[in-house]
Symmetry: C2
Subunit: 404 residues, 2 copies
């Protein structure tokens, strides 16, 4: 199992090819159009942003998946322009790009899922995108280099490519899963998106995939926060080619797949937080004793989105009062007299009241690039590991010192 990038073995699922090219949409001139294709088609599951301001490709992708009953031939991604807040013409443009790729692959447009990331409110230069289609179709390959070119082209403000891959055995056969993503918080001016593409050669129906994906996302991508903002373009897409000849419905396969997928999603989510703009600390919030997963997530978000908590983390300040207060304002009917808080090995709050601790040791613990804060809520049996990062002056500089 290698969940950590391109430097180690990549477990490449069968039944896919990838490619990328330069269409001139990114101002930097870097590769900005990416293609993933399942030549024999794939079953798909998807989760999109819940933001009411959803970008055109999100609307079109949803409609295509409905029309195709969850079957996908290819995904076409562009970076540099989000095609969001672009009105009806934004929808037309997304449709045009799917039609153009469909024609090149001899597939109906509803089997194409479009994705965009980049600036909001500026028309997508569709002629640049369609002009790049012959080149990106031509470049397709089913090797690691091709997947790497896909991972590089979807980046905007990311400082590194993000990949996780794994495999598991089902009888004598192997199933492979590889996922790539982009995102480092809604951090850069107008750059506002987490895009995740997961490929597997498992054989599954779209409906079967959807429930496994939802469960995996709930405790991975939905359990991270860089700055609390939900993008207009967020997308997680899972494609299953069936090329492993292992059926999800087979004995013991569903459980193994769910575990592998969850681990992979968590690794990708962690890579996103690590790449959070200006972030100096990766903070693992380990909540236990919640009444439900939803409740744990609500409390974790209230902590992780508090500017006071996040600035305390930036200053390595063992300020547990801010954490307690942000739990109290979460809207969950917590009883402070049941709450315990630990900074790593040291308890700092017991039953809602200060617990004596070594401040110097706590300060040193919080200086580490990565650490753990444990919170016991004393309400129930649900627990959640939630990943977040600190809010630094660097984050403010990056997001303030820019003008559209």
């Amino acid at each position: 199992m290698n969940l950590h990038g391109f430097d180690e073995t990549v477990y490449l699922p069968l039944g896919f090819s990838w490619s990328a090219t330069k269409a001139g949409i990114k101002a930097s001139g870097r590769s900005d159009v990416a293609l993933a294709e399942a030549p024999m088609g794939a079953s798909a599951a998807a989760m999109f942003t819940r933001n009411r301001v959803a970008a055109a490709p999100v609307e079109v992708g949803r409609a295509h998946l409905r029309k195709s009953k969850g079957r996908v031939r290819a995904v076409l991604v562009n970076a540099g322009n989000a095609n969001c807040a672009t009105g009806p013409s934004g929808i037309t443009v997304a449709e045009q790009s799917c039609a153009a790729l469909g024609a090149a692959l001899e597939a109906a447009p509803q089997f194409i899922v479009p994705s965009s990331t980049g600036i909001i409110g500026v028309p997508l230069p569709v002629e640049k995108l369609t002009a790049a289609i012959p080149a990106v179709v031509e470049a397709r390959a089913d090797d690691v280099e091709a997947l790497k070119s896909f991972a590089a082209a979807i980046m905007t403000t990311d400082t590194r490519m993000k990949l996780a891959s794994t495999e598991f055995a089902a009888g004598k056969k192997m199933v492979r899963i590889a996922g790539v993503c982009k995102g480092s918080g809604m951090i850069h001016p107008n750059m506002a998106t987490m895009l995740v593409y997961i490929f597997t050669d498992l054989d599954a129906e779209p409906k079967e995939l959807q429930s496994v994906l939802k469960a995996a996302v709930d405790t991975s991508f939905n359990a991270i926060s860089v700055d609390g903002d939900t993008s207009t373009n967020d997308t997680v897409l899972l494609l299953a080619s069936g090329a492993s000849k292992v059926k999800l419905a087979g004995s013991g396969v569903a459980k193994k797949f769910a575990e592998a997928l969850r681990g992979l999603c968590f690794s990708l989510a962690e890579q996103i937080v690590r790449d959070g703009e200006g972030a100096q600390h990766l903070v693992r919030l380990k909540l236990s004793g919640a009444k439900s997963l939803d409740e744990a997530r609500t409390i974790a978000r209230s902590i992780a989105n508090s500017p006071l908590v996040k600035t305390a983390w930036a200053g390595c300040d063992p300020n547990w009062g801010r954490i307690l207060s942000s739990i109290g304002k979460s809207g969950v009917a917590v009883d402070p007299a049941r709450i315990n808080i630990f900074f790593g090995p040291q308890q700092v709050c017991q039953k809602g009241v200060a617990h004596p601790f070594d401040k110097k040791q706590a300060y040193e613990y919080l200086q580490q690039p990565e650490y753990e804060i444990k919170i016991e809520l004393g309400r129930g049996k649900s627990s959640l590991e939630f990943l977040s990062c600190d809010l630094t002056a660097e984050y403010v500089h990056i997001n303030a010192d820019y003008s559209t």
Copy 2:
């Protein structure tokens, strides 16, 4: 009418006296214990923090108001220690201070409301507080200097005293209202509180006062945000001495009082946002076309608490995409195609899509220390003016570069 501080005429309500002294609770050695007394008693209305982690004085204040059926003889405030996350002994300590002041004034403890602001999780040195009671009782006076001493003693990280006062005529009699407050966001390490005390010589029952106060607070203190954090000690207390001999139930009085109180609360709320730590811009969000006041407030908070929006404000960046996106993630079922956004005189977004505007002019507009962003939601008839400020690197420095 003078809503703006101590430099102009202060409309001092009859039937109250104020004082302050130094108890040595503030590390700075400044005055830190404040007393407001209604020698003949006053009717009270109060609103407290909704944070589940409520400080001991909030719990005790609530219990006293219940027990006294909304009658108050005096308010005892200390700054420098919030008496929060202090467990059962925190409650005991708050009760002790009320008992000590009650004994000095020959009043039962339930007629005393305690308030605290300052560090969380550290036991309140009650002996310092009770030792200061003779001095603070001795110092009482019913003049502007006395009110000023009260306003100064309740400050923690505030950079200036906050006062608003006004009067209105009811027949041949005058009714006066004066309010003082402290707060500049939950900005300073562990300093976490908005405290508001409003005094009037109107004659009213506690129940009558409560509904007027709630309406005024809903569109003033509940319509501001510095950093989105809700303190554990937030308190708004309204006391009515009756010394004007004007009854709230009198013809036309309720309306005049409600308007005057609302204007006064809005002025105090504005003073708090202006004093927001690190803030360089006061932003007036003028929302219209919401279905209800609650809905408008939910959307305004989603905008005002978005780190991306707030950092764009810090950079004078006319980035309307971030505002649109933060409206979309508010949870309200908005239709982006009905949303219009204006930076002052210029429209920047029409029906959810970019509207051509002069970027240089917009940048200059957003450089002003105070400006207006108008948002039309196209859903209903409710509107709200919500006050917020930008998130600057200075805010991060102040809150990060401190260690408990």
